[in-house]
């Protein structure tokens, strides 16, 4: 295996992990506030289609990602109104949001099927990434860097800032936070909006960066992987980063092994790898944290009415 191939593999892993990382990071903040929004896939699809549509109409990727953010927030607000303000069951509402997202994105996307737009290009000028090793550092689009930076920002926000502490308090004990005087519903709504925004951007990463086109169900279930990643990372942002890379690595290595001609491995076995990895890591985590709650916020998924 040459260095060029190795570098290409590493780059594919980092890029493949980016949309999952973005969506999972948003969901992590949502869950930290005690809300379980299973509609990540639906919000991603809304973001993907609105991002693509806005870019196709305006010719600007910036407007596209802005539209994707707003679409994700709008979808999240449907969830917030139903489950937070009207205290509908969060699991059912989240699932409904995913089904809704699949349908509405297909409807909005009809006129855009078969079109393409210019993809999100690497952030740094091309001369910086001429050498393969420099490409490894400078060869990505802005969202790859932004997602990593945001991971550390969220970790810092949750751990070291007062609003982060309040958010966690709302997630751990909504009634106590309410008694002290924090607006539980408003904080949860804000967290849900943040989750929607990141899911929207993550979705648009598919339609504007990975495969610049719109086709129905473009994200093909990545929203569910993002949801699993949050549990996988036991609600810790930096572990989320490792988890996203691990998922990206398993997904990419599966394909690379096949391309290299690892014929002694059945393709079905390779296709199992991402799931085997999930089971293995989840088992390890639960073994180590036996007795503890696994890091889940105490009020996760519980309705709160003041």
């Amino acid at each position: 295996m040459t260095t060029a191939i190795l570098i290409s593999i590493v780059m594919t892993i980092l890029v493949a992990a980016t949309p999952i990382l973005l969506a999972a990071l948003g969901e992590l903040v949502v869950e930290k506030s005690g809300v379980l929004n299973l509609g990540v896939e639906g919000m991603m699809l809304c973001g993907a289609v609105c991002g693509f549509g806005a870019t196709a109409l305006s010719g600007s990727l910036f407007i596209g990602f802005l539209a994707a953010t707003l679409a994700g927030v709008a979808a999240a607000m449907i969830f917030a109104v139903l489950s937070l303000h009207l205290t509908a069951n969060q699991v059912a509402t989240g699932l409904a949001l995913t089904i809704f997202g699949v349908g509405v994105s297909s409807l909005i996307g009809k006129p855009f099927v078969g079109r393409t737009v210019g993809r999100l290009e690497p952030f740094f000028p091309a001369y910086l990434s001429e050498h393969p090793l420099l490409r490894l550092v400078f060869g990505y689009d802005i969202l790859v860097y932004a997602a990593i930076a945001l991971t550390f920002a969220v970790a810092w926000f949750l751990r070291s800032t007062r609003p982060g502490l309040v958010l966690r308090a709302v997630g751990e004990s909504d009634s106590s936070a309410h008694v002290i005087g924090y607006p539980v519903i408003a904080i949860r709504t804000a967290a849900t909006a943040f989750g929607g925004a990141l899911a929207g951007i993550g979705g648009a990463y598919f339609s504007l960066a990975l495969t610049p086109m719109w086709a129905d169900r473009l994200t093909a279930g990545r929203g569910w992987i993002a949801l699993a990643l949050v549990v996988f990372a036991s609600w810790r942002p930096r572990r989320l980063l490792l988890g996203a890379w691990l998922f990206g690595a398993v997904m990419t290595l599966e394909l690379q092994a096949k391309a290299m001609g690892a014929t002694w491995l059945a393709p079905e076995f390779l296709a199992m790898l991402p799931y085997l990895a999930t089971v293995a890591v989840l088992t390890l985590i639960s073994m180590r944290r036996a007795g503890a709650e696994g890091g889940a916020p105490a009020c996760l998924g519980k309705p709160f009415a003041a």
Partner: protein
């Protein structure tokens, strides 16, 4: 009292349900309803999209005589049976089910509705009111394989495949045989995506193949993502199911285009005239089921001529893509010199020809 009430209610409901039936019989000129069951979304710009284009062509051609209905994203399995039954109950007289996995569900529902005509794409179970139809995609694979064999500099092509069913295996073999005819050292690397539709995975698979030195990419999955990856990396690729040039103007050399329009129109006309009968059709380039999209300017005159020659000979019946001698991966002779594979043998194909790395 309450039981009586419920009975009256039920009787009333039954009466109400019968009303539309009577009304429909009264209208002699009511359009015939034609149903379509799709495995994917109509917006996939691939397999399901081409079937939907056929449905639209049918509506355009027959106008007020027909009314079409379709259900998309139907899972292969029990769901398909339910959808088929609902379409039949809703008054569809002719129902096309367009995925291999709909075979048993369609067959079961066909038995329950002897007066409804069913047509199942790519299957082999038939009945008095259940016909099957398929296209000889492998003929198109032979044409693009010829182009790949001539134009590839590395002598390696990447093939993104879905599942190892005969349909897909046949395509890989036809492509490889045609490429090796013009370049005996040609190799085809296969990645099994284990899905029909996952754009991001298809794109990553294409990248992995390009990393391994493949400069021609082709796929038997449903999205155009692999073409975009080829465009980005500056290698060539081929469209699948529909013309995908708009996604990759430079990389897209040509495409194998499925065209179901004429078939849907012909069969619906037969049903309208009461002349529909069950059959099994496997149409190729000659029958208009499979078309080759216009060549990209990048296709060299030599490749163009060779591809046209293969296409014309297939149409004329003088060339069969599976003509011996053909050896499999292990070097075992599968077809003797001059021997042609029968349709039956092709439909059971579970081995790969020399030059395939799967």
């Amino acid at each position: 009292m309450s039981r009586l009430d419920r009975r009256t209610l039920l009787a009333g409901a039954a009466g109400a349900a019968a009303l539309p039936l009577i009304a429909r019989d009264g209208l002699a000129q009511a359009p015939m309803q034609v149903g379509f069951v799709y495995v994917g979304p109509v917006g996939d710009h691939g397999w399901t999209w081409t079937h939907n284009q056929g449905r639209l062509a049918l509506e355009k051609e027959l106008g007020a005589k027909v009314k079409t209905n379709f259900v998309e994203n139907v899972a292969e399995g029990p769901d398909a049976e339910r959808v088929n039954r609902q379409l039949a109950q809703a008054g569809n007289k002719l129902i096309f089910t367009t995925s291999f996995g709909f075979m048993q569900p369609t067959a079961r529902v066909a038995k329950q509705f002897p007066n409804v005509y069913f047509e199942h794409a790519t299957g082999y179970t038939r009945d008095k009111n259940l016909a099957t139809y398929n296209a000889r995609f492998y003929e198109g694979r032979a044409v693009i394989g010829t182009i790949a064999g001539i134009m590839s500099k590395s002598g390696k092509a990447g093939y993104i495949a879905s599942f190892p069913i005969p349909e897909v295996v046949m395509g890989i073999n036809a492509f490889t045989l045609a490429a090796r005819k013009v370049n005996p050292k040609f190799e085809v690397k296969v990645i099994w995506a284990s899905t029909w539709y996952d754009p991001a995975k298809e794109a990553d698979a294409a990248k992995a193949l390009i990393d391994q030195g493949c400069d021609m990419i082709t796929q038997h999955t449903d999205s155009a993502a692999a073409l975009q990856a080829a465009e980005q990396r500056g290698v060539f690729a081929f469209g699948q199911a529909s013309d995908m040039k708009s996604f990759a103007p430079k990389a897209h050399l040509t495409a194998i285009v499925d065209d179901w329009s004429q078939y849907y129109i012909d069969r619906t006309k037969l049903a309208l005239d009461g002349k529909w009968a069950s059959h099994d059709v496997w149409g190729g380039i000659k029958d208009g089921f499979v078309k080759i999209a216009p060549y990209n300017d990048a296709v060299t005159p030599e490749a163009r001529a060779a591809a046209d020659k293969v296409k014309n000979e297939i149409v004329a019946g003088t060339l069969h893509p599976f003509t011996g001698p053909i050896k499999d991966q292990k070097g075992v002779e599968r077809l003797k010199a001059g021997e042609k594979a029968s349709d039956e043998a092709m439909n059971k194909m579970d081995w790969y020809v020399e030059g395939v790395q799967s």
